[in-house]
Amino acid sequence: MFLIKIFHFLKGYVILSIRGNNKEEFLSRLVKGGVKILESITFDDEIRIKIFARDFFQFRDFKPKCRVHILKKCGLWFWIKRTRKTFLYGMIIFLVLLTLSSQFIWDIRYVGVENTDMEKLEEATRKAGLKQGMLKANIKSGYEMKDIILNNTDNIAWAWVYVKGTVAVVKIRENIIPPEVFDPDVPCDIVASRSGLIKSITTIRGKCIATENQMVAPGDTIISGTYEFEDKTGYQVHASGIVKAQTEHIRSGVYKQVYCYKKYTGRKRHKVRIRLFGLDIPLYIKDDISFELCDTTEKDYDLKIAGNYLGIGISVKTAKEYIEEKEPISFESTVDFAQKELEKEISKELLFGAELIDKKTETEKIDNETVKVTVIMNFIEEIGTEKRIDEVTQVEPKTDRIATGD
């Protein structure tokens, strides 16, 4: 029935009132003439019929000999006809607003930001004259903005502002800071970057002052770049060499013999905000989600025409409630899980080319549910690192007394 009503609305229909002596005869003639009567109802001296708009336009051909009145014209066709002017004005206003709104910047997006301080970058962008709601025509040139952004931020190698529709995209490239490499002419020592038991030292240049099987602490000099002679004179060189040492890495943690996982309850809450030409209008009073445990996601829906953002959009923040479920697991599984986690942590602090030589896991039961796991790993690592000699005592080399490395 509902579908039929929709069909009638789309085609358009007319409700007519027929009065007079010949109303039945007129109705018969309509039917014989191919007019489809959709509904009909009678009163004492009146018949009301519903016919399609298309049939109504052929009505003159039937020449009624009774009084026929239009009671109602309904449907899409009549609605468009009735509202044609209003519709036209609305369209014009919409197009004007659309054209006007597309002349402004309604959103600023940043691409390539990983380690850069966002506040500083936004401040630099503001200084470059880029703001929400500004006219696109007032945007400075790309070179000008690039210079301002680079001068007001650290760690950015390149920046450029692209205007895509009503969105300004600030694209940046961050500096990759290379490890400090000293000039071969700069005097430096080789020092231990971490504590360990020295296993081998290969001196390329400088004076080795540590021995094998010696324990060193971070910062201890292993190969010195300073040569001193008995007469208190000497000179300094850029020391170099390979120092391999056995290092010990210990990590421990307390673990429960339970496996925790999230179980979603199916309850969701949505917080909707309307973004209107740079304004953020929340459609809620309280920001509080009021779930004890939940995962939140935020999705933006932008109004776009031909890929151009029109400055209007909505942001939906969805909170999915979950409860934390716990399942008991065996002692072995807990230790296995803990071991993997602790090994992962240790692997983050290893130096390049580290070789594992020994691994040990110690466990200690704290209570029936808790276990303390300690992982001890021994590696051979190259712990030698260059350290600039700050105070140069004597720069002039003495050619007659050249000292070579040990």
Partner: protein, 86 residues
């Protein structure tokens, strides 16, 4: 007419299809379907009169409403008390 009637009887063709005589179908007291009518003569809340080839059908009752009306058939709903053929 008689020849047509005889042919329809002989060939076992339904007479309403060949002779244009009305076929009246009633569904309880609520609905009546008349096929092969030629004109609507009267349409009132308590009385509907239809013309067919050779006479008039009068449907009496209360709260009549034409549900479907086509060139050859008409369905009426309401509280039907009697159907008369003249």
């Amino acid at each position: 007419m008689d020849i047509a009637k005889k042919i329809s009887e002989m060939l076992e063709i339904p007479p309403e299809a060949m002779l244009n005589i009305p076929k009246i179908t009633m569904v309880g007291k609520e609905r009546v379907l008349v096929e092969n009518y030629t004109a609507l003569l009267d349409y009132k809340k308590d009385n509907i009169r239809l013309k067919y080839e050779g006479g008039v059908i009068e449907i009496l009752g209360r709260n009549f409403e034409i549900r479907v009306i086509g060139e050859e058939n008409i369905a009426v709903s309401g509280e039907i008390t009697s159907v008369k053929l003249f």
